[in-house]
Amino acid sequence: MIWDALFLGLGYNATLVTIGAMLLGMAAGVGGTFLFLRKRALVSDAVAHATLPGVGLAFIVMVAFGGDGRSLVGLLLGGAMSAGIGLLCVSWLSTRTRLAEDAAIGAVLSVFFGFGIVILTVIQAMNAGRQAGLEGFLLGSTAGMLRTDAIVLAVSAALTLGLVLLLRRPLTLASFDPEYASASGRSIARIDLAMMGIVLAVTVVGLKIVGLILIVALLIIPPVTARFWTERTDHVVAISGLVGGFAGYLGAATSAAVPDVPTGPIIVLISFALFALSLLFAPQRGVLSSFLRHRSFQRRVHLRQGLLALAQHQPIYEGLTMRLLKNAGLVLADGVPTDAGKARAAKAMLDEARWTIVRGDQSYEAAAILYDGLTDLETLLTADQLQDVDARLSKPHGVGA
């Protein structure tokens, strides 16, 4: 059955929802990247929670006008309106009062959600016995969806993705360097507005698929995952879109195939699995590789400093330094340097002196910025340059007492 789902063989509705989830995941991944790069990831959490009172009020209004209150488009429009108001509250609180943005986010999130709960209980009291089905918006439920709703979802997910791709360039620019963007005549306020519009669109479309509590994961986890693999903004955007799309597709397909598995949580867990793999194993920023690099760097620093201390006849105060020197055969057990140790110490001393000259002379700037305290200058300078540096070494150097 899972294979049927993966290859979209579970019927027209499930296929539409799966495709919709994939498109939504891509839109969220791409749109979330800008939010993440602007360090405002959790604004989306406030937006998502703020949809609840709107959904509830839309239901009440639609019932009041004689409908059964279940029109998906109507409910989503209501959600979008209250989320928009929530967003305005966040920005008003964080710009017009002394409260920081995180406090504004938390306040809007909890108060709107609390008010939404109040509305939900009002609805329960209104039509006791008849299920309004609004709980499905909390965690997402795509099972037993109407054909028209599935079409609405797939189409609006596609539209959202189109919108995100359309606004990709200015958003990349603004999230990478807001000052440059505003200097080059783009209004940051307008771009931020566009960004929030995308967040709003993703959230609202995602309400039915992922649910309002977890939609924020779709906007946050893919960009964070993508960030581990690259230093380039456009690549983060692309990878993030792929991660989001993959998680959306696989999650919705699994949920369609396995009864009782809500769509939202499974999509989130799949995204997290990708995140965890990236956190651990990404080649540059991954935990494993940075740990190994850090340790080898620390050892090289200690060894180098031990050699410098030996050369200057200074005591070595740190155990790790001494152990490394001994293991490398540079000192004997009693701390007396071996011949190899003396030679390496002298070389380290020479390197330090050479570096001081190179870093003190602007004409060697290209080499000087590569200074890390460890690199041999032979690898950076030409023979002529090295000769010039060494010639200056012999001159008396005014180091005071």
Partner: protein, 303 residues
């Protein structure tokens, strides 16, 4: 309203609401000033997976294992956020978003695939709680407050929440100076020998204890609101930490009382015969208080 009606039906839920509000708002003051306001949000989301795991391990809906499970989940979440932030070099907001959504999703999934249909354990309950149900059936009026037999029938949530508030209060009182100094100037705090890292962790753990104890009675949504709204409103009233904390307590009590009353009686006044969610209404009232402070608080703007 007579004591015979008020004491058994409204007194205990209202008192529980008050203790919840104060126990969360008190550490919330420091979380707010440390720009960690959303830690409360993260903690209250991970309570669900905590109790689900505790239920699956212990096989019963019992208070103690669930409290332990929830507290354990909160500590794991905080450690994971800190770990991801450090080793992955990710900004705290995003790290938080990754961790709490994932743990919440895990909790929901566990709940769905394990057979918990016969127990009172569901997502909605975890979110909204059921404050209204914590009534005191053994009471007959104000006199019951002095009647040991009736007192024995108090809902267990009341003494539990009172004890939680005392614990949180004791922590804040004892570490008032280190909390204040390290929140203002962490570098200075370290140079005078304060262990700011463990202190910050202790603050989060104490907040988690408050959240966990509170959530069973009132659900997570009120917890998040109380961590943030009363302290935020209080910050706009004053420029002294001592006064801010006092205001936050006042606002917490005010939100709890007005929220509870409006939820219980508001619909009646408007001609409906049902009540609405007290937890939701308390959160809403805390928002109303914050809105008033944001429009009229004497220190609402920064200098």
């Amino acid at each position: 309203m007579s004591g015979a009606e008020f004491v058994p039906l409204s007194l205990t839920p209202m008192l529980i609401g008050i203790f919840v509000a104060m126990a969360c708002a008190l550490p919330g003051n420091f979380l707010l000033l440390r720009r960690q306001a959303l830690i409360g949000d993260a903690i209250s989301h991970v309570v669900l997976p905590g109790i689900v795991v505790a239920f699956l391990l212990s096989g019963a809906v019992a208070a103690l294992p669930m409290l332990l499970g929830a507290a354990g989940a909160a500590v794991i979440a905080v450690a994971a956020i800190e770990g991801i932030r450090r080793v992955g070099r990710i900004e705290p907001g995003a790290a938080m978003g990754v961790v709490f959504t994932t743990m919440f999703a895990g909790g929901v999934l566990l709940l769905e695939i394990s057979d918990t249909s016969d127990v009172h354990l569901d997502v909605e309950h975890a979110l909204f709680g059921n404050l209204e149900s914590l009534i005191w059936l053994d009471a007959f009026g104000w006199a019951s407050l002095l009647d040991p037999e009736a007192l024995a029938g108090l809902p267990v949530e009341l003494p539990r929440m009172a004890a939680t508030f005392v614990l949180v209060g004791a922590f804040v009182a004892l570490f008032w100076r280190p909390l204040k100094i390290s929140t203002f100037d962490e570098g200075f705090a370290q140079t005078i020998g304060m262990r700011t890292r463990p202190l910050g962790l202790a603050l989060v753990v104490v907040s988690a204890i408050a959240a966990v104890a509170a959530f069973d009675a009132v659900g997570s949504i009120i917890v998040i609101a109380m961590f943030i709204c009363p302290p935020a409103a209080a910050r706009l009233m004053t420029n002294r930490l001592e006064t801010q904390v006092a205001w936050s307590m006042v606002f917490a009590i005010l939100a709890a009382v007005t929220g509870y009353v409006l939820a219980g009686y508001g619909p009646l006044w408007m001609g409906f015969d049902a009540s609405v969610s007290a937890a939701g209404m308390i959160a809403t009232m805390s928002g109303v208080i914050l809105a008033i402070a944001a429009f009229a608080g004497p220190h609402r703007r920064s200098v």
